[in-house]
C-alpha cells in the first residue's frame, strides 16, 4: 500500500505522524507535524483531521484544523503545520503533546479556495486564527500577479494570528480589535467596506466564525465582489461519512441542499450559503419535511 505508484496517485493520506514542534503564538498554539506526501497535495483552504486522546482514549471525534503551512523537503521530509486554540478536551490534549509524540492525521481534506485565472485584486479577511489558511493563499495569489490586501480581526490583540506574516505578504494590512488594543476599534466588517472601496477588490476570501463570514459575504456582495468563505462547522469525521457538519447552500440549479462542510466545503461561495438560515433546515430545502416543521 505504500508503493511509489499509489503514493503518487493518492489524494488523501492517513498517516501516523510525529510532532516536530509545538509553540505558542499569542493565544494560540502552532504545531508542526511530519506528513510525508501531504504537502504536495495541499492547496490553500484544505484542512487536516487529527485524532486526539490516543488509541484507547475517550475522545473519538477527530479535530479538524486549516492547514497553515507545508514544507515538502527538509530534515523531516514533508511537514504540515496547524494552528489551534485550546477550547475543549481535544485541543487541551493536543496542547500537551511533546516533540516526537505520534498523532494519527488524515489530510489534505475538503475543497480548497478557488484561485482566479487573472491577476485581480483580492482582499483576505480573517477572524482570530481563521487567518491560518490565508498565508498560503496569499502567496499563491501573489504568484498569479494578484494584488493582496489583508484584514485581520479579533476580540483583542492576543487573539490575532499571523500579523507579521500578513505584513510580509499584504499590500496593505488592516487590523481591527473589539477592545481597540491594536488597529481600529471594532470588527472586520466595520473596516472592510473602506478596504474594498480603496482596493477596488474583485474577490474577497474569508475564514473565521460563522457570524463574521455571514457579515463579510454581505459586505462583499454589496460591493459587487465575489466572495469565498471557509466555514467553521462542528465535524465528527472530516471525511464525509457522519453528516453532522451540514449547512444550507444554494446550488447552480437554484435548489438549496444541506451540504457537508467537510467534503462539499469548507470553502463555499459567500453568495450561495444561506447564512440567515444556519441551524435550520429551510422549508424550501431539497428533502425538507412536507409539513415544514424541520424536525423529522
Amino acid at each position: 500500500m505504500t508503493t511509489a505508484a499509489t503514493r503518487a496517485a493518492a489524494r488523501v493520506i492517513q498517516t501516523r505522524s510525529e510532532v516536530i514542534s509545538l509553540r505558542r503564538a499569542g493565544a494560540y498554539h502552532v504545531m508542526s507535524l511530519t506528513g510525508a506526501g501531504i504537502p504536495e497535495l495541499t492547496r490553500p483552504g484544505h484542512f487536516l483531521a487529527v485524532a486526539c486522546g490516543g488509541d484507547d482514549g475517550a475522545l473519538l471525534l477527530r479535530r479538524t484544523f486549516s492547514i497553515y503551512d507545508v514544507a515538502s523537503r527538509g530534515v523531516y521530509g514533508g511537514t504540515v503545520d496547524i494552528v489551534f486554540a485550546v477550547q475543549g478536551k481535544g485541543t487541551r490534549w493536543l496542547a500537551e503533546r511533546h516533540r516526537h509524540d505520534a498523532l494519527d492525521i488524515v489530510g489534505p481534506l475538503g475543497k480548497p479556495f478557488s484561485l482566479p485565472r487573472h491577476p485581480v485584486s483580492c482582499v483576505l479577511v480573517a477572524g482570530g486564527y481563521g487567518s491560518a489558511p490565508m498565508f498560503m493563499l496569499a502567496d499563491q495569489l501573489r504568484e498569479r500577479g494578484c494584488r493582496v490586501d489583508v484584514v485581520l480581526g479579533a476580540s483583542t490583540e492576543e487573539k490575532l494570528f499571523g500579523v507579521l506574516d500578513a505584513k510580509r505578504i499584504a499590500a496593505t494590512l488592516t487590523l481591527a480589535t473589539e477592545d481597540g488594543s491594536v488597529g481600529e476599534r471594532g470588527r472586520v466588517t466595520d473596516v472592510l467596506p473602506g478596504v474594498l472601496d480603496r482596493t477596488d477588490a474583485d474577490v474577497v476570501y474569508a475564514c473565521g466564525p460563522m457570524p463574521m463570514l455571514a457579515a463579510v459575504a454581505k459586505v462583499a456582495q454589496a460591493h459587487g465582489a465575489h466572495s469565498q468563505c471557509a466555514v467553521e462547522e462542528a465535524m465528527a469525521c472530516g471525511i464525509g461519512v457522519c453528516m453532522t457538519c451540514v449547512v444550507p447552500v444554494v446550488g447552480d440549479d437554484g435548489v438549496t441542499r444541506m451540504l457537508r462542510s467537510c467534503t462539499d466545503g469548507p470553502v463555499f461561495r459567500g453568495d450561495r450559503v444561506r447564512w440567515d438560515d444556519l441551524g435550520t433546515v429551510p422549508a424550501d430545502c431539497y428533502g425538507a419535511p412536507a409539513t415544514g416543521d424541520g424536525s423529522a
Binding site: M1, I13, Q14, L61, A236, V241, C242, T244, V246, M258
Partner: protein, 348 residues
Amino acid sequence: MTRAVITHHPQRSAAADRPDVDLSASVGGRVLPDPVLTASGCAAFGRELEPFLDLTAIGAVVTKSVMLAPRAGRPTPRMAETPSGMLNSIGLQGPGIDAFLAEDLPWLTERGIRAVVSIAGSSVDEYTKLAQRLRHVEGITAIEVNISCPNVESRGEVFACDPDATAAVVGAVRRSSAPGVPVLAKLSADVTDIVAVARSAVDAGADGLALINTLLGLVVDTDTMRPVLAGVTGGLSGPAIRPVAVRCVYQVHAALPDVPILGMGGIRHGLDALEFVLAGASAVSVGTATFNDPSAVARVSRELARALADRGFGSLREAVGHAHRHGRQPDPEPGEPAPPPPAEDPAP
C-alpha cells in the same frame, strides 16, 4: 477516487498480516469472506471510505438507511461528543430510493463491493414499497430493516419498541423481497425485553438480526443551559454503549442460538469485535470508530484474525457463541427456570 496511502501500517507479507484463520462468516444464509462490515449511518454509501481501505475485501458496506423520498434531515447542531462516544441527530438525511438506485448502489456493485442495503420508513407501506423497489435489483448482499432509528419525530414510530409492529414491518419486507436475499432486522436496545422483539422479528421471517442501534440520549449544554442538539434527543454510539450491545447479543443468542446476529455497538478494536463473536455474533459492524479511524473496518478485521489465532481458533465460526459454552452462566430471570447446564464442547 484514488486510494489513500495508509502509512502507519508497516508493509507485511500476506502470511504475516493474515494469520491462518478462516474468517468467513455466515449472515442469514449469505457467506461473507470477512466478518467485519461497516455500520449503517457511519459510512455514507461507501464511496467516501474508498481512499482508506479496500472495500471489496471487507465483509460488506452497510449503507446509510435509505428512504422512499429525499430527506434533508434535522437542523444543526446534529452532534455532541460524549465520554467514549457521541450523540447524533442526523434525522436520516439521504437522497431517497430513486437516486440511491441510480447512483449510489451501482457505484458499489460495479466495483464488486458487497452491499447491505439499509432501509427506513415511517409506515409498513413505505417499507413494503422500498422492498419492492429492491426486489429486482442485482447485487444486493442483504437488506437491513432499520426499525430502530431514534431520530424520528415520534418515539411511537420506532417499530422495534413493539413486538407486533416489528413483526408487521419485517414480515412485509420479507414477503416483498427477493427470496434469496437475506432480511436482517435492526433492533433497539431501548426496550424492556429485546428477546421478545427478536423472537417476533424471526417469527415474521427475519433471516438474521442486527444488534444494536444507537441508544436514545440527551446532552445539556451547561453554558446555554439548553439541549446541545437541535433535535433535543439523539442516538448514543461508540464504546460507551458496548456492554449494552454485548449483553443484547448474548441474551438473544442464548434464546435463539440458530439465528445469525450481526453485532455492533462500540467496536473500535479487534478484541471488541471478539467480545461480540464470543457472545454470539456471526459477524460485526464497525460504526462510530470509523469517524476516529477511517480505515478501522480493515484494521479491526486484522486484529480480530490475530486475536482468534492467539486463542487457538482455526475459524471464526468456532468462536461464535463461545462465551455461552465456557463463560459464566447467566443468573436465571425472575420466574424463569435456570438455564440448562453447559453443553460439552472441547476447547479449541
